[in-house]
């Protein structure tokens, strides 16, 4: 089995995780910018983080032959300070040309505040001006449904944004339909304690079909499982889905979306390209 991990925060994982993911069939890993667990004190902290995502982390992954891609932003948890956010957003364009940058993400909302919305609009404008893909984080738990609706309103109100170039992540049973019906991609995050389990993800696949859906681990420094995607693939097999249907969900779907960025190249294609060169 081969799979793409479309959402993993590898800077907070140990190197052994890269080895395990590769052994499980991972051919590419994508890392959205996120909250470090504490608020950074200045734009310089973000500059260093963006350098880590675009320089150091891809080299760490490359030691295991795994292509590493990333998304850049100031995350919603640090968006209450609009002045800081504006300065950080201004840093991002200089990184967009780097070879592993896929787009702007994971932007979105956390507590659904007015300032979070203003910063979301800044990011959407940035993505539109630079023709970037967008990866959106939806809020946690009781804030998710309201936040997802607010996010969809922002995206739909900007005529430059094409839904097929945006993925709305962390959907659950109460948000997946409104995202898909609006023409966006939807990501299901496989978490042990929140978001959704593998069994529930397979329920949603069976209910809504596999078009414009992907699964990710979103593994980070919290309780999370770096191999959640291959485990969900096993759950699909237990539920009677054939290998082609599994590959559609864990490999071809993320490939379809991510290939909209011409820089995206899974490992076997990168190997073939280097062999020809």
């Amino acid at each position: 089995m081969r799979y793409i991990e479309p959402h993993a925060h590898m800077v907070s994982r140990v190197t052994d995780d890269y080895r395990d993911m590769l052994a499980a069939g991972c051919v590419a890993v994508c890392e959205p910018a996120f909250w470090a667990g504490f608020d950074r004190s200045s734009p310089a902290g973000f500059f260093d983080y963006f350098a880590q995502l675009t320089d150091y982390e891809p080299r760490r992954a490359a030691k295991f032959g795994l292509p590493h891609y990333c998304w850049l932003c100031i995350n919603p948890k640090e968006s209450e300070d609009v002045t800081l956010a504006r300065e950080v957003v201004a840093l991002i364009p200089q990184f967009l040309g780097r070879e592993n940058v896929l787009g702007i993400g994971e932007i979105g909302l956390n507590k659904n505040s007015r300032n979070e919305l203003r910063v979301l609009e800044m990011h959407v404008d940035l993505a539109a001006r630079h023709e970037q893909l967008i990866l959106v984080h939806t809020p946690h738990l009781e804030d998710k449904h309201k936040g997802t609706r607010l996010i969809l309103d922002v995206l739909r109100s900007d005529q430059r944004i094409r839904p097929e170039r945006c993925i709305i992540d962390h959907v659950e049973e109460h948000t997946v339909k409104i995202v898909l019906d609006a023409g966006f991609w939807a990501g299901m995050t496989l978490y042990p304690e929140s978001k959704c389990t593998a069994a529930r993800a397979v329920d949603m696949i069976e209910h809504y079909g596999s078009e414009r859906l992907w699964m990710n681990s979103a593994c980070d420094w919290g309780v999370s499982v770096p191999l959640a995607v291959p485990y969900a693939a096993l759950e699909m097999r237990r539920r009677g889905h054939n290998p082609d249907a599994v590959e559609q969900m864990v490999y071809r779907n993320p490939l379809i979306f991510l290939r909209q960025c011409p820089k995206f190249l899974p490992s076997y294609e990168a190997d073939a390209k280097h062999a020809v060169a």
């Binding site: 209450e80 007015r114 979070e116 804030d143």
Partner: protein, 87 residues
């Protein structure tokens, strides 16, 4: 999969989760002090388990969600607690 196959696959896991939930409620009941809106929200959500419209998970998630539509003036915390306090 048919119902029999799904029961074979998931019944024991669902049974264990149900007993875990019951034990949690017993544990909270035995403890001293006042509960808060989270316990009331959980008890309220349990009603949806008896629905037969195939939307139990969706309805429980909605029941635990903030139903308002306007952005809040400012975020005073980063964390979510899993139930809407109703204010």
């Amino acid at each position: 999969m048919n119902r029999q196959q799904l029961l074979d696959l998931y019944f024991l896991e669902a049974r264990a989760k149900l007993i875990d939930l019951a034990a949690f409620l017993d544990r909270v009941e035995r403890a001293e002090g006042e509960a808060d809106f989270r316990l009331a929200a959980l008890m309220d959500a349990l009603k949806d388990l008896r629905r037969e419209d195939g939307c139990r998970a969706e309805n429980i998630l909605l029941r635990l969600s903030d139903p308002t539509v306007e952005p809040i003036p400012a975020a005073t915390t980063k964390a979510a607690c899993g139930a809407w306090p109703g204010k």
